[in-house]
Amino acid sequence: MRPVRRLRETPGARDAFGPLVDAVAASGADLARLRVVCDWIQYRHNFRETAVTRPVLPAADGGPEEARELAVDLRRWARADPAAVAADVAAALAGGDDGDGRVWLEDWVHGSASRVWRFNSLYWQHLADWEKATGKEYERALPGGESDGRNAEAARDLIWDLFKVWDELEARRALPPELYVLELGVGNGGQARAFLDTFTELDRRHGRDYYRRLHYLMGDYSAHVLDRAREEVAHHGSRVSGLVLEATRLPDSLAFLAGKAFCVYISNVYDNLPADEVAVIRGRAYLAQVRSYLPAADAAAIAARFGIGAAEVAPLAERLLRIGPELLSESAPDKFGDTGAAVRFWQDAWSALRQAERYVPLEGLDGYRLAPGVTGEVLRPLLGATGDVRMHVSNGALASFAGTLPLLHPFGRLVCHDLFTTDLEQYRTGFYGPGKYDGSTVNWVNGPLLALLASRRGFDVAFTPFKQRPGSHVKTLTAQVRDLCCCPRRSSGRIRSPNGSSASKPSTTSAGSAPPT
């Protein structure tokens, strides 16, 4: 029972339990091997039917199920009548396979390999086409109608911190000639502009002319987004460079930056990267596999709308993912008269898309590759700590995070605003994705997992509320090298020199081991 709070607050959700139990009892299912999981799926657009079953398989290569999980969305049941609940449960327990006419879009895969993420990539690559079709910019699809990265006050704090570090390094001739700041996921350039405009102002007051040495690198997966951001900061000229890059493959694009970035700023990127999910069921670890499909009725409606056969829907969706809407319309003008028609096909398919799920045993954590250079071993403390639980693996975020840490200068800092879980207990009491935002996929990010990876690599991670939007779900992750002591922000005091001449007061607990502040 994950939506604990909702259960208390929403009588309709409680009312669904009687019909749920009645329907399960009437189904003939083996109740000794049936788990029921109740979620409150807050995303109005998501990948789930109201009730679904998930087989728990005994071996990774399939085989007869050894148990079954019935997963329901209480939000959609909160206003449903008892007959609808019973019908949903009966349908879920009865089928969920080829028998109901659904159109499969893929075979069983780990979550991160799902077509869902290819749709997500398509959205960012062909954002201009999507926006043209919808008539609104993507930021308006975000909660609150804008991205989180455009706040001058936040930029001011960050810049003063940078100045403190740079002043100290300059004093000891340790400041490199080029000062790199990297932003990943630049949105429309609002954050870059806020940072650079504020930097210019503060640098003038500070009088060290750091602006002349500054290199602000903007990285984004979408060339369209990047072009828009470039326009926003055009007045900063050569201080800014834009790079089209994949956040999960940073070492390929940014090897030159290793150890040089004083600040890496990331806003709302990780929640949009591919993720697996793992579960512990009765003490055993499983990977959740998914299989995307279009419900039969939706597939039929799409076929009718575009005058195509029902059997053509899946191949055309696959071709769309491969070549994009413009080339799809060019290659099939009889079906899609222009790019706009191909985008409408895309939007219809995306809107209808659902995912079936099943659990396969996770045999040997060391054989499970989460991200380049990261095996499932990093999950061991998390899976062993919480009893039965299902959580995100956040593979894409892990790959990006692991690829970003080596870019940091020893005094550098990674600042990331995103939807982070910060405690594994959250996974036991709430639903954290995936869901659909406009044409993209959104997922909360497993914060404890990122913190664990950082720890293995000598970094400390802190999560704090997102100051600039109080009350939002967004958290700020800050990562910096562990145990450094000579940087102003991390000072734990200096040792007195032999002649007693220097120095700030030393820590009385540990001369060099105080955690970063």
């Binding site: 000598g458 145990d483 040792i495 009385t508 001369a511 081991s513």
Partner: protein, 281 residues
């Protein structure tokens, strides 16, 4: 030759866990390179008998080879940075600098035992010093306590850290001079492969007249250097240091590299040195 020091979990804890007077409350850790939280509740015992077992470590290595051995141990300044506790707090009137000196006296006892066991080439590693450049004079004072009365060949290694396979600090070696001139050492061993050779000029500026341990292998990168690259680096060093005062070595320890990569890097180092040696006749 070295035995690779694989018995050591890291450059600090191996020593502090054996150091008399140092308390480590919690000895479990997630990663071998995580550091213990160590504390000194009372002043450390003064010198006396060696108790860290370093002489036995040396004897193990000695039993494996008849080649010359370089034996390294972490220096008093770096060890002091990981010891908290009340005994050397500023308010006690002793202060952290006295902790450095006390550690130096304990290490001096180790050095004497090592020399008695036959160690002829000893190296003091100070991986934390680059983070506290203003403390170079104190660190050198402590080095001189360690080496006192031990007639071995002494090297002092100062790098920018190698913890978690990444540098802990950045900067230049200016801070070492002129303090290092007063160190009773025969060789200063520095990292150049990762940082570049710009700081070689410091040896000329400060008229360094002893040996240089010249780092030609970047131990933080898995990319294997070619012998030609190693040779080029050595030739650059020879512009500042004559060959009889130049020792070729990696920037720091190789523990973060895959064994195959480490071996190939060492092969490249030896081959590159051979190229230059042949050129020198």
């Amino acid at each position: 030759m070295s035995d690779g020091e694989l018995r050591r979990d890291n450059d600090i804890d191996y020593f502090l866990a054996r150091m008399p007077g140092v308390r480590i409350e919690r000895r479990a850790k997630a990663d071998y390179y995580d550091y213990y939280e160590a504390a000194a509740d009372a002043p450390l015992p003064d010198g006396g008998q060696a108790s860290l077992g370093l002489a036995a470590d040396y004897e193990f290595t000695r039993a494996q080879t008849d080649r010359p051995i370089k034996f390294s141990f972490t220096g008093p300044f770096s060890l002091s940075r990981r010891i908290g506790g009340a005994a050397y707090a500023e308010s006690t009137g002793t202060g952290p600098a006295d902790l450095v000196r006390a550690l130096a006296r304990l290490l001096n006892a180790e050095a004497r035992a090592l020399h008695a066991a036959g160690a002829a080439f000893l190296q003091i590693d100070e991986p934390f010093l680059a983070g506290y450049p203003e403390q170079a004079k104190l660190a050198v004072e402590a080095v001189n306590i360690v080496t006192s009365g031990v007639p071995a060949t002494w090297a002092l290694h100062v790098c920018y850290g190698n913890r978690y396979a990444r540098p802990s600090w950045e900067g230049h070696y200016d801070f070492l001079f002129p303090a290092a001139i007063n160190a009773n050492i025969d060789q200063i061993t520095l990292e150049f492969a990762r940082k570049g050779t710009e700081d070689l000029r410091l040896l000329a500026v400060h008229e360094w007249d002893r040996s240089l341990g010249f780092g030609v292998i970047d131990v933080k990168s898995a990319r294997v250097e070619t012998p030609d690259l190693v040779a080029a680096r050595i030739r650059r060093a020879l512009e500042y240091v004559p060959p009889e005062r130049l020792m070729i070595n990696p920037d720091c320890g190789l523990r973060h590299l895959a064994p195959d990569v480490a071996r190939r890097k060492l092969h490249a180092m030896v081959a590159g040195a051979a190229v230059v040696r042949a050129e020198l006749g």
